[in-house]
Symmetry: C2
Subunit: 547 residues, 2 copies
């Protein structure tokens, strides 16, 4: 028996012959679901998402008020064409191939900057999908506004992860912006909560400065007009904050710095490190901070990180973060769900592992259409995730429609003990919770960018912010509940006043009508019906920042 | 105003200067959460997962009964060392660098074969993490059983995604297997449902042929002995089944085939295509199947795929799939949850998009400790996902502990209308649902391999299999419920028999004791208490395959 087993053993040298390397493009081609490109409806929405976020990012960085036109045409069964045109800064002949035909290439990955995209995968993934499902390259027209615009077709060589550019030609006109046309098979347009229209509606909510024009496959034209012409300040590349960096980060940065000394490296390449901090660090480490940063050893870098932990730094600057703002979130929620009550909160920036600053914005809407929108009901059906309260998730203003169950935002919402805030059953309450997570690096759980990883610092901050909002909402709800109970009591007393007065009048021989009036006065005074307490609070509240 | 806006516009050529490419290693280094390497407890479990699945895969492919030893040592606060040793085929000097120090390299990606790992990312990701958190390379000892074993240290150059091998040396002894020692900071060992111990316990459940020895940081030694010495047949590379392939798949395969004609290409490179099918396909396409496959155009390949859809092919062979088997799942569940009732089902293979065969195995355990294990309760707390019934998920026998909310298995379970099966409230029922999804390519939603994408065909098959099991379980539950109701009725009648007999005896002047006996006989006969119906069904059921 033992002999038999031995005979069938395949040795390591035989298996070694099967060793191969493959490109990141091949990897994502075989695992398109990791880019969110799976499911007929989801795939089409994800394509729209990738192109729209790229356009918004480009406009924001260039300081342009975005105007984006998206057209979807049904070319056949489960066969669609998307045409998207923006007024952004455009791509050049040098960059167009890498931006749209090579994975992991782009302007976003290496900069700590608040953008919707961050990996250089999305748009190139769409090019690959077009090619995989229709055999066709994507068509591009681009111009920077200076000189002639150009047109070309682009596909990807998956074995090499390199762009293939065909038919590059100058156009006889000026144009600033980017136009992409791509075809996809095996996709489906639906006007559901997971469809492109809902995606664009939510994009408009979180980006009130953008004009978005959508032409649906049915030929309808839907325009989301901008409600403000205020262009958000262009995002700013940030330096890492010492509070969250790892030894590896310090080593990697030290080896690439332009500074000549460790001290100047620390001051130049990190946030919030000045001369005082340098003096403090010098006391905590065993080596001279005048040392060449390129010669920094692991254990020296470790000493620096340990020193970082002992020093109190100022919180990261909010300079590079661009919140929507409490007033604008309020306006958006009021317009969508017409609630009885809204509370919005933009928290100060925090830092999570790696030194990345982030910021949380919350809006809670109660009553009206909150929580019971058709979109939400459909979302429940579509996702089967048992999520009952309506949670609108955003990361850097880009809506997150999928993978709710996996997201720090959803987990944070469900981790709150809502009963403590007068919400006895989260499933049956008219509540919409809006959350915008902004950061120079969003820790997405996957390349499909639909869920935020539940890092400790992020969960803590989300929970804290949610509880602050819940407390405010609880005050409104309990005031409202007390009011309702009082009203019921008063109504009951009123109902019996005539009978009581009748009896009293018989006993005391006093006028029945006078007794009724007196009793009514008594009830009115004892059970005063007031405006709900929260409304007062609202009036007393100082004007919100950004208003 | 307009002028001012124009002034601040940054043009495309300026932004072009920010264009950079980066390697897949840099990408995953910055996005380690996409590999599941985030959260202190989760990270350590994921590391164990990556190494153990690699060992099991290697042993299975080599036809070896696996014996795996895992040792965790606490070196400091949030600082651990893992030492893992297997008796597998080992790596050679040529392959060790790529296997452990380069992402997207390995033996698994390009073969359609049922394995736990499939991307060539996991183990290299761990090397990167060791380096990122401790600055240290991993230590390796390997031998193929022939000649001397060797030792070396390995790290990754992230800029190039290339292995760096140090200190390669021959050892003065023979050894077959692989030993890896790696250190990690920022991780935590917990004996929770998300910890390494639970991971190994579940691995043992789904791999009864493996012996697993675990030495915990507390110094405990836990041995999971094998309950069978039956080595699963080595996995077999599969060809794609015509039912699911896309045009792109056909084109890519046609360009790499060794066949000279399209007809022989189709016969050789796909499953289940014989001469009859070729004749049918020839009738459905407009070109000669004697054509050179390398010259196949997109539209010709499209014709082939359309023809595939019209022809009825035999279902994919189960040759390459290695289910655990109904009997072994039953045994496992009986030993873990000691249920009142178990039903297990191994479904025949199906195909999902891309022509990948897959197979679903389900076990439902009711009563006993089912659904109310401490592990499950803790899991609820840890994940905050609102998952109440205990769902044990496996993919190719590897336990999936994380990202439950995002997984096709969880979604399928929650999409079932359990009320129809007598389970009124899934949250409060003693139910454990065991699901093993096996395939030559598992469509994981992320590189962290913890959730299966809800592709249509997969959801359909999972739902079908779950409903079949639910029906069987329902029969048991309803029989049990009827029995309980009968028993309550009988008990009630029994209670009143003395009084009724007393009264009757007074009226009829008959002996009270005789009356009691007669009444008791009546009740016993009218309300016969039987063994629950399902137990009969169980006895009548033919012996399960594999038993």
């Amino acid at each position: 028996m033992k002999k038999k087993v031995k005979k069938t053993i395949v040795t390591g040298d035989v298996l070694a012959k099967e060793f191969k390397e493959h490109s990141v493009a091949e990897f994502f081609k075989k695992n398109r679901q990791m880019l969110g490109l799976y499911g007929k409806v989801r795939t089409l929405t994800t394509v729209v998402h990738e192109y729209v976020t790229n356009s918004l990012d480009a406009c924001e960085e260039a300081g342009i008020l975005p105007e984006i036109e998206i057209k979807l045409d049904e070319l056949g069964p489960e066969y669609y064409q998307i045409t998207i045109k923006d007024n952004g800064p455009g791509l050049t002949k040098d960059t167009v191939g890498k931006a749209l035909g090579q994975l992991l290439a782009g302007t976003k990955f290496h900069r700590l900057m608040q953008m919707r995209g961050q990996q250089g995968i999305g748009a190139s993934g769409c090019t690959m999908l077009s090619q995989m499902t229709t055999g066709k390259a994507i068509k591009v027209i681009s111009g920077t506004g200076k000189g002639k615009a150009f047109a070309c077709e682009i596909s990807i060589d998956p074995k090499k992860n390199e762009p293939q550019i065909y038919n590059m030609r100058d156009l006889d006109r000026k144009f600033r912006g980017l136009m992409i046309q791509a075809k996809f098979k095996g996709v489906l347009y639906r006007e559901s909560a997971m469809g492109p229209l809902e995606y664009l509606r939510r994009t408009a909510i979180a980006n009130p400065h953008a004009k978005i024009i959508f032409r649906s496959p049915k030929g309808e034209k839907i325009i989301f007009n901008r409600t403000t012409t205020y262009i958000p300040k262009p995002p700013k590349p940030m330096k890492p904050h010492p509070a969250g960096v790892t030894v590896d980060d310090v080593i990697t940065m030290a080896h690439h710095t332009k500074a000549q000394k460790v001290s100047s490296f620390l001051k130049n390449d990190f946030e919030r490190i000045g001369d005082t901090a340098i003096a403090q660090i010098q006391k905590l480490v065993s080596f001279d901070l005048n040392k060449d940063p390129r010669k920094l050893t692991w254990s020296e870098a470790e000493q620096i990180v340990n020193a970082f932990k002992k020093i109190k730094f100022i919180a990261p600057s909010a300079d590079g973060l661009r919140p929507i703002g409490e007033a604008r979130i309020r306006k958006s929620l009021e317009s969508i769900v017409q609630p009885e009550y809204v509370y919005t909160l933009t928290r100060p920036p925090k830092v999570y592992a790696g030194g990345y600053p982030f910021q949380v914005e919350i809006g809670i809407a109660y009553g009206g259409k909150a929580g019971i929108t058709t979109e939400n009901n459909q979302a429940k059906e579509d996702e089967n995730q048992g999520v009952k309260v309506e949670i609108m998730r955003f990361a850097n203003r880009a809506p997150l429609l999928f993978d709710a169950g996996n997201c720090a935002i959803t987990k944070a919402v469900h981790s709150i003990d809502w009963k403590r805030y007068g919400i006895r059953d989260l499933e049956n309450v008219p509540l919409t919770i809006f959350v915008n997570f902004i950061s120079v690096h969003v820790p997405y759980t996957g390349a499909g960018k639909q869920a935020i990883a539940d890092e400790d610092e992020i969960m803590e901050e989300l929970r804290l912010a949610l509880m602050m909002c819940a407390r405010k909402t609880a005050r409104y709800i309990s005031a409202k509940r007390a009011e309702i109970e009082k009203k019921m009591k008063r109504d009951m007393f009123y109902k019996y006043i005539p009978e009581v007065a009748e009896a009293l009048s018989k006993i005391t021989k006093k006028d029945k009508n006078k007794l009724i009036k007196k009793l009514e006065w008594l009830v009115l005074n004892k059970l005063k019906l007031e405006k709900p307490e929260e409304k007062k609070v609202k009036r007393l509240k100082p004007k919100q920042k950004g208003e």
